[in-house]
């Protein structure tokens, strides 16, 4: 049961730097979507990335687990460079959990099966252990009673919490959140943010694309503001909200904070 207990904490990183992006560029056809991105995320850091729609923030975090391919520059995840090697990419994906805006739960599987599928088929855990871990994380996101249901029977907030639990069951070193609350009804946002909050308290390295400024203020070590494919400004939440430096940042903040 030693294996199980090791799955219940964030996995330790091999290096101090969780994610390093050096001069990363990406194009969709002729459209230059990421422009010379340089970003260093230390282990245990919580980064919130914000910016107007189309600014490239989702593309940025999707490059970290190779759901999108960058064309120039280097990306290192826990010291391992993302190259074309499929095996390496799969290894990195194992250690990097991801939560999507649209949840993307597997609708043909029960909640429990959603959670145990990857641990069994990718980590090769015995079913019993995988289920034990799954039930632990369902407990953590406060929906242990939904284990036998199908995703379509749950509310949006519950589905997103299942998605968080699904990512955690792989015992990731880093968690990526791509607008996790944008598709939720307003009264369900809090339950998801609470789950993320708790994860932050465990010391998980997190990169979160979000417009939840309250969450950013409370949880983030750093806020990264992007526009038109580049990083405009990055700072601690206190400095970012109190004294934004760039004109574009000031305009953005004036529009979203009323």
């Amino acid at each position: 049961m030693n294996q199980v207990t090791s799955f219940l904490r964030p996995a330790p990183l091999n290096t101090d730097v969780a994610v390093e992006m050096i001069g990363v560029n990406k194009w969709y056809g002729d459209f230059h979507v990421l422009r010379d991105i340089n970003l260093k995320v230390m282990g245990g850091e919580r980064i919130v990335i914000c910016g107007p729609s189309g600014s490239g923030k989702s593309t940025l975090i999707r490059c970290i687990n190779r759901l999108e391919e960058h064309q120039r520059g280097r990306i290192l995840v826990d010291g391992v460079e993302l190259l074309d090697d499929v095996k390496k990419i799969e290894e990195i994906r194992r250690d990097v959990g991801m939560v999507f805006q649209q949840f993307n739960l597997f609708p043909h599987l029960t909640v429990l099966e959603n959670l145990t599928l990857a641990p069994i088929w990718v980590r090769h855990l015995p079913r019993r252990e995988a289920e034990e871990i799954a039930r632990h994380y369902l407990q953590r996101v406060k929906i242990p009673e939904q284990a036998e249901k199908f995703p379509g029977q749950l509310s949006g907030g519950q589905q997103q919490r299942v998605a968080i639990a699904r990512a955690l069951c792989m015992n990731p070193k880093i968690m990526l959140f791509d607008e996790p609350t944008s598709a939720l009804d307003p009264e369900m946002v809090k339950e998801v943010l609470d789950a993320m909050n708790e994860l932050a308290n465990d010391g998980m390295t997190m990169l979160v694309v979000s417009h939840e400024m309250g969450f950013a203020r409370q949880v983030a070590n750093r806020i990264v503001f992007m526009d038109e494919g580049q990083i405009i400004e990055a700072n601690t939440p206190e400095a970012f909200f109190a004294s934004p430096q760039h004109e574009r940042t000031k305009l953005f903040l004036s529009q979203i904070l009323h």
């Binding site: 290894e91 991801m98 993307n104 043909h108 599928l117 990718v122």
Partner: protein
């Protein structure tokens, strides 16, 4: 009325339910709404009623009322002064039913065909029952165990045991079922691979799949069968001439695989991109993602279309008689010329028998497709 005219209103007593006016309910209401709602509709109703009156009674008279059910030879089905009208000669079908089912399969070995039918029926039942236990084992049974066992059973085991029965002796329903079953069993996995190939990111794989699918879909099945049975031996060394039935089976299987590929591709396209991304994000490899996440969902929504393809394939199997294989139609064709049963109604009866056999089989399949469709529509948005 009181509600609209007064500023404040409180209901004082419940309004009792009364039956609807007769024009909108009951038999008369239904007839009016559905059959006689407009002059055009009235005309249509009358035309259809006349058609039914014209066809159904004469059909029933031929198939049932005037039909001859028993008899040893043609004498039973000839018109006599006492029996001026003779309907279907079912005595002929009853006399020849074994030939229609087994063809020239040796009489003392026909139990092997019966076992094959039973094993196949068991597999089909298991496969089509959506809530059946262990459907994963069922897939192995249906797509791996059944084909091998059936071949050994029907053709004979090499090292003694079951004596060899060459395929030239197979016939009737046996051949029809074998061709259809092999077509479906081979074409489904092959079609899945071709569909995945067509959506692959590897150009060579994609190109091969596209060329195969489009080429096969661009030629009629008859052409494929002729090519398989006439041209294929030309390309192969004389010593290695594959069995006639086998050649036709290969042709049918490849042909239906191309159609199956397009059916499966439609299902694959219906699965949202997010499912692929979620599968990749947890570190599943391409094949595991397909096997565990994408195909179960895609195939499930494709079941009705797969069954429709199967219906088409089942009927298309009659074409193998063109290359000289004794399927059901061909056995009837052969039997109807038998002088022992030569009567004016023999041919019609034989064809009616074939038609009823195909209709019942295909109708059952399409009912099943409808059932799956209805179940998917109500249930699966869970």
């Amino acid at each position: 009325m009181t509600v609209a005219t007064q500023a404040a209103y409180v209901a004082s007593s419940p309004i009792p339910a009364i039956p609807p006016p007769s024009a909108h309910a009951g038999v008369i209401g239904w007839l009016r709404a559905n059959l006689f709602s407009s002059p055009f509709n009235v005309a249509l109703t009358i035309v259809c009623a006349l058609l039914i009156l014209w066809i159904v009674p004469s059909l029933l008279r031929f198939l049932l009322i005037d039909a001859v059910w028993t008899g040893a030879d043609r004498q039973a089905c000839l018109a006599t002064p006492e029996h001026p009208e003779v309907g279907a000669c079912w005595a002929f079908v009853r006399d020849r039913i074994n030939f229609f089912v087994y063809g020239f399969y040796p009489i003392d070995q026909r139990w092997r065909v019966d076992v094959f039918f039973a094993a196949l029926a068991f597999g089909v039942g298991w496969l089509t029952w959506l809530d059946a236990p262990r459907r994963d084992i069922c897939l192995i049974y249906f797509f791996a165990v059944l084909p091998i066992v059936s071949f050994l059973l029907l053709h004979g085991t090499p090292g003694g045991g079951l004596p060899l029965v060459e395929t030239a002796k197979w016939g009737g329903v046996l051949v029809t079922v074998v061709v259809a079953a092999v077509g479906i069993v081979v074409s489904l996995p092959l079609g899945v691979l071709l569909a995945l190939g067509r959506r692959s990111e590897m150009p060579a794989v994609r190109l091969f799949s596209v060329i195969f699918i489009e080429f096969v879909r661009g030629v009629p099945l008859i052409t494929v069968l002729f090519m398989a049975s006439v041209m294929l031996p030309l390309f192969l060394p004389d010593t290695w001439s594959p069995d006639k039935l086998l050649r036709a089976l290969v042709g049918v299987a490849l042909f239906s695989a191309a159609y199956m590929a397009e059916v499966v591709r439609a299902g694959l396209q219906a699965i949202p991109r997010g499912q692929h991304e979620a599968a990749m994000a947890v570190g599943l490899s391409y094949w595991k993602a397909m096997y565990l996440i994408i195909l179960p969902q895609a195939l499930k929504i494709t079941i009705p279309n797969i069954v429709n393809s199967a219906v088409g394939l089942f009927k298309d199997t009659t074409l193998v008689f063109i290359v000289g294989i004794f399927d059901l139609l061909k056995t009837v064709e052969a039997a109807r010329g038998d002088p022992q049963w030569a009567t004016p109604v023999t041919s019609t009866t034989g064809y009616a028998f074939v038609a009823i056999f195909y209709f019942l089989s295909c109708y059952a399949m399409s009912r099943y497709a409808r059932y799956v469709e209805a179940r998917l529509a109500q249930g699966d948005r869970r």
